[in-house]
Symmetry: C2
Subunit: 311 residues, 2 copies
């Protein structure tokens, strides 16, 4: 049988894919350029495969096979890490680094309450945070750059396990004096004819809001022709300011409202009438992660923080 590639050489290869430069990749691996160069050469010799275009001047250009090998190398190194991780978790659960990814429509509202609670319950847990859109978080989860995601379900990703945390109801956010503000609750369909303001594309909350208002996938509300084409807010905070400025109405998740996102703006917040006006908050992790037990053990605490609270 072909001898197995050494983890070290695979690390060199991955560093090279990341930096596209022998010197900097070597630096990232804390070895000299000569060592990394020899390592890559040895890997190509052992696999009997050309991973780099050697004739393309001095630039680092991967062959198609090189890219595939690199992807498999990433998976192989991660599964080696999983061995060590399983031991570490068994030795000292709820400790060490935990790289948590959060979407921008959850992070600013839950983390301020979640982090202290976690620190108190699991003081040895070191939480590294990263905020990004769902699709990018999922990609980083699969790459092994993140361990756990806090996001809105469902998130389409093979190879990931998920668990529900809580429902997060939507509120209609209206400018003061708006016609709908006189009602106790607002039917979601009524927003279809309003000027509905949304987050920019890529935020799952945008899709959830459109869905709740009865728009089909991809379809959207009518736009004022005078408005900048495709203009959309980049955060819920900007969105609130736009509604307060009278540009239209929007939907806000309960966690944002309870965190006081509309405080001081005079905005009128009304629950949606009828059922179905909510998103599901949840956790996601790589299937068969050695730390699955820990992640599931976090659920009650997280569900409590994410659940309804008195204002």
């Amino acid at each position: 049988m072909t001898p197995l590639p050494s983890p070290q050489q695979l690390r060199y290869l991955l560093a090279l894919t990341e930096h596209q430069h022998f010197g900097r990749a070597a630096e990232a691996c804390a070895v000299t350029q000569s060592t990394l160069s020899a390592g890559i050469l040895a890997l190509e010799r052992q696999l009997d495969a050309r991973l780099l275009e050697r004739d393309a001047g001095k630039r680092v250009v991967f062959t198609a096979l090189g890219r595939e090998i690199a992807a498999r190398a990433r998976a192989a190194l991660r599964s080696l890490e999983a061995v060590a991780e399983a031991a570490a978790t068994a030795r000292a659960p709820m400790s060490g680094a935990l790289r948590l990814g959060v979407i921008p429509t959850i992070g600013p509202f839950l983390l301020p309450r979640l982090m202290p609670a976690l620190r108190q319950s699991y003081p040895r847990l070191r939480l590294y945070l990263r905020e990004d859109t769902t699709d990018r978080l999922v990609a980083q989860l699969n790459d092994g750059r993140l361990d756990l995601l806090l996001l809105a379900l469902p998130c389409a990703s093979a190879g990931a396990d998920t668990v529900k945390l809580a429902r997060d109801a939507f509120f209609a956010a209206l400018p003061p004096g708006h016609g709908l503000a006189a009602r106790d609750t607002v039917p979601a369909a009524a927003l279809q004819t309003e000027h509905l303001l949304l987050l920019e594309d890529g935020h799952c909350l945008r899709d959830h809001a459109l869905e709740v208002c009865g728009f089909a996938r991809g379809e959207g509300p009518a736009r004022d022709p005078a408005e900048p084409d495709g203009f959309a807010a980049t955060s819920l905070h900007t969105l609130v300011q736009m509604v307060a400025g009278g540009l239209g109405v929007t939907l806000l998740p309960r966690i944002a409202v309870q965190a006081g996102i509309a405080a001081g703006t005079g905005l009128v917040l009304r629950p949606l009438a009828g059922a179905g006006g909510w998103r599901t908050l949840g956790l996601a992790w790589r299937s068969q992660s050695p730390r699955e037990g820990e992640y599931r053990a976090l659920v009650p605490l997280m569900a409590q923080v994410a659940g309804p609270h008195a204002a």
Copy 2:
């Protein structure tokens, strides 16, 4: 971060799980006992985890953590192999060792025609064969001890991809002079009241046959009280002999019939009336195997061999 365990040490651990004996595990790894012993110790030290019960005399007893680590080590080594495999496949597709698992109700009938065809089309492919029941084959596929399975679908296994090859119709096999033998086709339901002979438990063909005859899962045909309790044949060849001996009737798959399993026995073979009287033959492999491309390329040839032929 914790340093990654070396593949060598993981191999030692797996050899130890297999042999439960330091000396023999060392021999299997082609190292001395002292080396393997030191390697295991080093692994336990690096992971800071007790993998073996050190106080249980001289016997080798794994801790629960030890077993989990071993399972993850198996996965890690396999993903390292996948790196080398990807390179080997790209360098020389359809060559090298291919460990093929086949179920006993397919192997004896298809392999005699499949092997020569494969040898002719892909002379550099070295096929290692293993015959076993579906569940055991699937387990060995997941363990990495087999690369490809030829079996009857569906086979329940997460982490495996499958593809259909061909339908394999069932024939009623009747002793000469049997009442049903006068008909051109036999309704499957008519076999419910016959003395239906079956393979022993564990063969998927047994379940398929029961299903075709209209028995619910787990339910079975009425038994002669004089018959040895739960007696069942161990191969289709024995089954044919039993039918020829007048002990009852059975169902035979078309591939067995065409291979001449009933030749010279005087058995009467009748197609089943109506639709649904067939099983699906297919291939299965580990998801994301580097050789998936090769496996799919084998499908046309295999489907042709597995498909209907003139008698």
